[in-house]
Amino acid sequence: MPYIPHTPRDQERMMRAIGIGAVDELFRDVPESLRLRKQLDLPEPLSEMELVAELNEIANANRGVDHYTSFLGAGAYDHFVPSAVNHLVSRSEFYTAYTPYQAEISQGILQAIYEFQTMVCILTGMDVANASMYDGATAAAEAAVMSLNASGRKRVLVSQFVNPEYRSVISTYLSGGLATVDELACPGGVTGIDQLRAMLDDSVASVIVQYPNFAGIVEDLEALAGECQRVGAALIVIADPISLGLLKSPGALGADIVVGEGQSMGNPLHFGGPYLGFMGARVKYLRYLPGRISGATTDGEGNRGFVLTLQAREQHIRRERAYSNICTNQSLNALAATIYLSLMGKTGLRRVAELCLNKSHYLAGRLCEIDGVSMAYEAPFFKEFVVRLPMPAEEVVNKLRTHRILAGVPMGRYYSGMENLLLICVTEKRTKEDMDEFVQRLGAIL
């Protein structure tokens, strides 16, 4: 039996020590009526060799982005991952460890988390950060919950151009009567400040916007923050960490809580997971932060060390009074992000961001040369943008796929009336050649 080391002789010895004649006696507390008297209906076991063959066959039934030229984004991004990332996260001292409850033999993970927290603070301009959340969407939902707990208010406003997956998760999290959620429209592609002003009052715990937003547009956070401050509402910003190589940090522009999806920092696409959410906040939210936090301290001899700290916030101590139920997070993915950011450093991350900016602007310009294609919004964008096509975007996407191009995400899937709009993402991995072919193929279709 794989992975069970006992020989019959071992089992004999153990049973003798326990004082039983058969292993079955150990299950005497399970009522007879509940004992499963059949074998589970599962496929016949495979040897390791057979398993490898079977899984390769299953994997080969997929055709990932490597099979295409991909312009898909919308919350999951095909950024370059340096080889060093995978080598380091494959060290089994990291990946076969549990949550670092025993600090003295978990210094590696705890220090890496502390470094991750610092990097999140640096990128977001926040004072404090946690060890990670499940993904960007749940990080946004937990940020909303945090704003409710800290303010005692009961209402959240969410911009229409917050990723629809995120809006859906936020609604689910708040569905138990924790708060009402209202939507802010995005005329011209950005969160409408007049509507915001009209809806804001002191019942609003937080306003959630995305930076750059779902349409790729860089929102004017400073103006939004000013409105929020007027009524004491928190500005929650969902940020693309790659963009923060170039853009001012949300903290510098007045955000109170910054969350986001960290997948683009060293983690593969993997059909949606495992990814990682990150969360930073101003220090006044410290005691309301969900999840694990690593903190520096010393041992009796004065050596620096790290521990899980502020645990009284968490479910295992607060139980029903806890501000979140999160326990397991996405530690290994956060480690990958930490290693990614260490390799990139100050200039590398900026360089990646510049490549994205240059390339997306090149492609946007070229596409708009095609008759009938135009930018949907005249607003500043980073690596994603929305074009208006003279026909339904779904049709275009389907046709281009036959030419091995994943053209983007049709906005009509999420927003009615946007059937001809296509959301296109350009990362540093797309070459001029890729983009020129896209332009040529699209031109030929239209």
Binding site: R287, L310, Q311, A312, I317, R318, R321
Partner: protein
Amino acid sequence: MSNIPEELRYAETHEWVKVDGKRALVGISDHAQEELGDVVALYLPDVGKQVSKGDKLAEIDSMKTSDVIYAPVSGTVVEVNSAVDETPEIVNEDPYGKGWLVVIEMSSPGEVDDLMTAAQYAEVAKGDS
């Protein structure tokens, strides 16, 4: 045996009150801080908050547990001890002095008479430990 000053009044939930006219100075008892162990954080109300006797007034976290502090009297919170944010250990070290938590301006000062005397509270504390 924990310290239970004679001149204070106590709630069953381990808060103490020191009355000065309509002002009630509130903290937690020496017995309570002993039971909690190392106090690491307090969540105090904002000045101006109205509370009724028995309402949740604040929360307190220690290394091993987290607990609710209840309002021993009704009224308006007019002062909070911000020193406990930076140095929560003063609640352990000096629960009746530097470790005070809030001042409530009482709306019904008569409520104080319903609180326990030191002798009565000593019985409660003894039963608990």
